[in-house]
């Protein structure tokens, strides 16, 4: 079943065509890679899919629902999550609070309940905090629970970003360069985690990566963009054999 279907998507920024007529399909449960050299338009595609940017034309269907042009927070409520290339954590707050904020969508008590500390609110908070703690443990972040997120090394911040995105319980997670800035060991660990997410928790992943080696190991299907256009699409092996793809990278390939 196609969970995410992008058809002829075009995005413009001011006068620049960031994405032109890109189409791709992501099947449920798949780990799908989105690669391309710098400036290929990968982040723009993510921004358009998540509603941060209104597409110029084209369609984006998620779980059989047209989402192009819908407000970002509503798209997120359909089960579409993302992480950020430059992390975008809530730097002033602790790691625990960051992940806790991820659960916002799943808490339903109102302002009055919050103001008066009604049982509905306290119950929800207790439950959510427990879940947040478990999530921190799963990502080995418990040691940093009380550290302000902005003070952490970039690689650990990326982990927090992923944990936080998962708190929202997405069906499909768009990861924008999840291992950039990580050490070898951290990257390995992150890859293992991502595979686990897909296999054990059934979360569909779309991974934007610059690091070909990591991606080719991780992804089941790959879409290659170049200068805003679709270059090729297929299995990692097929892409590595594709001369146009290799040329586009011109030595970037690991």
């Amino acid at each position: 079943m196609a969970l995410l279907e992008i058809t002829a998507l075009s995005v413009r920024f001011g006068g620049v065509a960031a994405v032109t007529e890109v189409s791709l399909v992501v099947a449920a449960g798949e780990i799908h890679g989105l690669i391309g050299p710098n400036g290929a338009g990968k982040t723009s595609v993510i921004n358009a899919v998540t509603g941060m940017v209104a597409p110029l034309s084209g369609s984006v269907r998620f779980a059989d629902r047209e989402i192009a042009g819908i407000a970002p927070h509503i798209i997120s409520s359909f089960g579409l999550g993302r992480t950020f290339q430059h992390v975008e954590l809530f730097g002033d707050r602790s790691v625990f609070d960051n992940v806790l904020t991820g659960f916002y969508r799943h808490q339903s008590y109102g302002l009055l309940a919050a103001a008066l500390r009604l049982p509905k609110a306290t119950r929800s908070e207790r439950r959510t905090r427990e879940q947040a703690r478990m999530l921190l443990d799963a990502f080995e972040l418990a040691a940093f629970a009380n550290t302000p997120a902005g003070l952490l090394p970039f690689g650990i911040q990326k982990r927090v970003d992923i944990a936080r995105a998962l708190a929202a319980e997405p069906r499909l997670l768009l990861l924008d360069e999840p291992v950039s800035g990580m050490s070898e060991a951290e990257a390995e660990s992150a890859v293992t985690t991502m595979r686990k997410l897909a296999r054990e928790h059934g979360i569909t992943l779309v991974v934007v990566e610059h690091n070909m080696r990591v991606l080719m190991n991780l992804a089941e299907r790959v879409t290659v963009l170049n200068q805003g256009r679709l270059l090729a699409s297929g299995t990692p092996a097929e892409m590595q054999a594709n001369t146009a793809v290799v040329e586009a990278y011109l030595g970037d390939a690991a």
């Binding site: 997120s76 002033d92 904020t101 916002y104 103001a115 959510t128 302000p148």
Partner: protein, 321 residues
């Protein structure tokens, strides 16, 4: 953090015991300070936590004050109705402002709040048949179930209890998912949206909440001071309110309490050099902005870090109470 909580409790205990030793003048001063605390708590949620600049906080205070005053004097309603009415009216108008403001930020947000401030001032002055205009309005003491709080001590306790309640509500909201949403909107609206937080709606809620606190404080102010007039609710007062939270510590409940109390007491301490009062105020604001960005709360945290001989690399979490 524990030090901070202890300090607050100590302060509250002192306040509770004040009527036993203080003259009515100092009780009055403390009442003003507590009303300012309510203002500061509300404003900190909007500006400190949610990061929305608002130059019209004094307007919501004025709206609450006039609503309460008019309900009492013109409509003969009891305090227990006119005070909640002030809160509700202020909250509604806060939402009304928050609606257009939700898409604005920084400069344009400051401007629209400035416009709102002037508009409210205009209404207060130009409709004297309703508001008493420049001459102002006299307001009777609050009364509970027909019993007027003429006794200074009773009035004091009334204000004290309401202030503690307001602090508790502010603290509860800050620790709830709403407080987290506010901080998220301030620090990264993109990440917030990706997590399903409706940024525009959250901003509106923040504005409405802030207005409610300010309106509540205004309603109390009217009864405590006994007289209100439009100049009290102008730009100068708004800046004073912002000074409370800047000096106290942005995003911190403890900071709101500390800043409001210290700055209300300050003109008293500067009694001898009264005329320099305004100038000193301005320098305190400027100095805090330039050198003490985390306000008094930040200062306390730095001292804590020094005392426990830890390297001050771990700055305290911003929104901690």
């Amino acid at each position: 953090m524990r030090t901070r909580v202890l300090l607050i409790l100590l302060g509250l205990a002192l306040l509770a015991g004040l009527p036993l030793v203080a003259t009515s003048y100092y009780l009055y001063l403390a009442e003003l300070a507590m009303i300012n605390v309510i203002i500061a708590v509300g404003l900190n949620l909007l500006s400190g936590n949610c990061g929305q600049i608002s130059l019209c906080n004094a307007s919501f205070m004025g709206i609450g004050a006039y609503c309460s005053a008019l309900c009492t004097t013109r409509l003969g309603l009891p305090t227990l109705i006119s005070l909640p009415a002030s809160v509700i009216l202020a909250a509604l108008l806060g939402a009304a402002l928050g609606y257009p403001a939700r898409r604005l930020s920084g400069l344009y947000l400051a401007l629209i709040t400035l416009g709102f401030l002037e508009l409210v001032g205009f209404v207060l002055e130009e409709f004297p048949d309703y508001t008493g205009g420049i001459r102002g309005l006299k307001v009777p003491r609050p009364e509970i179930f027909g019993f007027s709080l003429q006794s200074n001590r009773l009035l004091y306790f009334f204000v004290f209890v309401l202030t503690v309640g307001a602090i508790a509500v502010g603290y509860n909201i800050q620790r709830s998912r709403f407080g987290r949403a506010f901080d998220a909107v301030r620090q990264s609206p993109f990440a917030a949206q990706a997590l399903g937080i409706p940024v525009a709606r959250v901003k509106m809620i923040a504005f409405s909440l802030n207005a409610a606190f300010a309106g509540f404080a205004g309603g109390l102010l009217a009864g405590v001071v006994g007289f209100i007039d439009p100049p009290e609710f102008g730009i100068l007062t708004s800046i004073q309110h912002i000074t409370f939270i800047v000096v106290g510590g942005l995003g911190s409940i403890a900071g709101s309490v500390a800043g409001a109390m210290v700055l209300t007491a300050l003109p008293e301490v500067l009694r001898g050099v009264q005329e320099y009062g305004e100038l000193v105020y301005g320098f305190i604001l400027l100095g805090t902005l330039l050198f003490l960005p985390r306000g008094l709360v930040g200062l306390v945290a730095r001292l804590e870090a020094l005392r426990s001989a830890k390297p001050p690399a771990k700055e305290p979490a911003y929104g901690a109470p």
